[in-house]
Amino acid sequence: MSAVEEVVTEAAAVEAVPKRAMTLGTGTSLLVLAALIIMPIFVKNFIIFQMTMLLIYGLAVLALNILTGGSGQFSLGQSAFYAVGAYTTAVLMEHFDVNYALTLPIAGVVCFGFGFLFGQPALRLSGVYLALATFALATAMPQLLKLNFLEHWTGGVQGLVVTKPDAPFGLKMSQDMWLYYFSLVVVIGIYILAVNLLRSRSGRAFMAIRDNEIAASAMGVDVALYKTLAFGVSAAITGIAGSLGAIAVQFVAPDSYTITLAVSLFLGMVVGGVGWLPGSIVGAAFIIFVPNIAEGISKGLSGAVFGVLLFLVIYLVPHGARQVAILGQQLAGKLRKN
């Protein structure tokens, strides 16, 4: 291993997280779930919309978390997978009249293929080099979406307007509330799958590769296969998040999926705690609400205020929300003993 790689793998970002520490206890999970189910009844449609976006970005951060926290690979190209998912849904819904719910698995499959293929050349790269290769993907994506021969489907720079679905079965709830519950079901389903994936044989293989590639291959783990597999799974989940995002925002355009989105997702993962799946939702909350708070403090300097807040978080709790959760747990444990 070269010195550079050494530095990258030693960085705190991908430190070994034991798999038990990657999830929440059953009691806490149920409590969070109950809160997520009950909340929309009491708040305005706008807040429900924000909560939906929170779930969607949370899902995208979760996908990155599986890739980075699970298999130790970096990606700054998640926005590209998100865009592919969003466009798959938008094109299927608007040009082929496919039901919105059916477009999600299709987007997942398309993105899995896309991610798996991209994972092949990416195999030769690691650490910062891989991050740069995915960065290239993210910068290229908005321009690819504007290409002339795709314009008939993608609408070019104008983008596509997506029709928001009504609640089915004559349910009397607003479109926003229905979409929230729909997203919640999808997100919880994927969360449970992700937790089980990381607890399974494949998950252990991911983590073995993350902790030491050579040792992993000595143990008989097919490093190449599992690395590309991790890319594929991550891309598929990001794609589904993109699909949900397209339906919630009702609009897709190349400018929605720039490198800024990829960086935001990366940021969300770090703030939530790398390798700690429940942290994804905390990270998503950070990237949605903190810019708004920063804007509230100073409009002209919102970027600078955001930077200061981000710096404080990284400085005070470098392991993100996971660290806060562990502290809380220890505190609760002490109180119980007393």
Binding site: V249, F251, T258
Partner: protein
């Protein structure tokens, strides 16, 4: 009998009372976002991100309404201008506009900037019947009163500008051989369509070449060489600023001197004409609708004097050469006019109705002779421009005011 009379009287009194209260209601009607003391107006701007240079428009508008409030407001009501950052990102624009509508409860969304952001919020605002007034983009699709009765543009559309060039050429140079260089996206295609519409039946005989480039190309020199080979005597440069500068520079390097017309978007002295070379830029034509804040010609103009006073008092230190400051002032003044016309009937429907019945309105910053006119099916407030020629270090307007009315598609 007596009882009946009492009953009748009571009924009469009630009827009169109902009538008078009904009349009182008719005098003052409000939708969400308007009260006896306040009118709440929402706005989104790219204060951060790739288009943050335009953020100054939002700041100018905020300062303008502060001035209005200091002078007593509009019909006695203060304007509460709530502006959020959308970072030029459509999903963020949707989030911020929903916040404005559902959380801040604004009366209307005014001058949101950018074609992608406006496309993203158009359906939502029209479904909710909330005015999306005077949007800050030149795409032609905003003038569509039939399908989107709650959306209205402000500045001249790219198509009307292109029509004006075509009309001017038909009159001044009827046997011109025209070559068109355009950016291969909605921006360039809007210009192309406007030109062809403007030439009408003569389009096929006058246009000798249509050449497009991709915005991702680093240099368009090759296209210029190719166009020169076709030997046209008029070159229409339908580009964004960077490519505009390249084109003017390259034609000069080839010592080729066609009549060049460049888009209003790329007519900036600082970012196009100077980089292209002042020598090479002499005689280039374009069109304008607003006065140039840096041009000493307007020093004694009453409108621009007001503008300068406003800047000194409410935006000290603002860059007067920045056309965004002129733009924001003009747009805000148009909204103030529409709100003033609403009187005490501040419903969303009436605001749209008043915005669609502006007659010969002239904001301080528009060129003399250019007037804002709207109608029930004409949602393009500014559709007039004046030709201008680059001379020395600045643009000089010439000729009469030309209008290019583009029918909604």
């Amino acid at each position: 009998m007596f009882l009946a009379r009492i009953l009748r009287t009571t009924a009469l009194v009630t009827a009169v009372a109902t009538l008078t209260s009904g009349a009182a209601l008719a005098q003052k009607t409000y939708d969400t976002g308007a009260t006896d003391t306040e009118i709440k107006i929402g706005n989104i701007m790219p204060y951060s991100g790739p288009a943050s240079a335009y953020g100054i428009i939002g700041k100018t508008e905020e300062a303008y309404f502060k001035m209005i409030n200091d002078k007593g407001g509009i019909n006695g009501r203060k304007v509460n201008f709530v502006s959020y950052d959308d970072g030029y990102s459509p999903p963020k624009a949707v989030e911020q506009v929903r916040k404005l509508v559902e959380s801040d409860e604004v009366l209307a969304v005014f001058n949101p900037l950018g074609t992608p952001s406006n496309s993203a919020i158009q359906k939502y605002l029209n479904a909710k019947k909330i005015p999306q007034l005077f949007v800050a983009t030149g795409a032609t699709k905003w003038n569509d009163a039939k399908n989107f009765p709650w959306t209205m543009g402000w500045q001249p559309s790219y198509q009307s500008e292109a029509q004006i060039y075509a009309k001017w050429l038909l009159k001044e140079k009827p046997d011109a051989k025209v070559a068109i260089l355009y950016q291969n996206d909605d921006f360039g295609k809007d210009y192309l369509k406007g030109t062809k519409d403007g030439f009408g039946a003569k389009a096929s005989s006058m246009i000798v070449m249509e050449e497009s480039y991709e915005v991702s190309e680093p240099s368009i020199d090759g296209h210029i060489v190719k166009i020169k080979a076709a030997n046209p005597d008029v070159l229409l440069i339908y580009t964004t600023p960077k490519f505009g500068a390249q084109t003017i520079k390259k034609t000069a390097e080839l010592s080729w001197k066609p009549l060049q017309i460049i888009t209003n978007v790329s007519a900036s002295v600082g970012s196009v004409m100077k980089p292209a070379g002042l020598e090479a830029s002499q005689g280039v034509l374009s069109a304008a609708y607003a006065k140039d804040g840096a041009d000493p010609r307007w020093n004694d103009d009453p409108g621009m004097k007001k503008w300068a006073e406003f800047l000194d008092k409410y935006m000290p230190g603002a860059d007067k050469t920045d056309s965004s400051v002129v733009y924001g002032y003009g747009a805000a003044q148009t909204l103030a006019k529409a709100l003033e016309q609403c009187g005490d009937n501040l419903t969303r429907a009436n605001l749209m109705k008043q915005a669609a019945s502006l007659k010969d309105f002239t904001p301080d910053t528009l060129l003399p002779g250019i007037k804002i006119n709207t109608g029930p099916s004409d949602f393009a407030p500014i559709s007039q421009l004046q030709m201008q020629r680059f001379k020395g270090e600045k643009w000089e307007q010439f000729g009469e005011i030309l209008s290019g009315d583009v029918a909604p598609e």
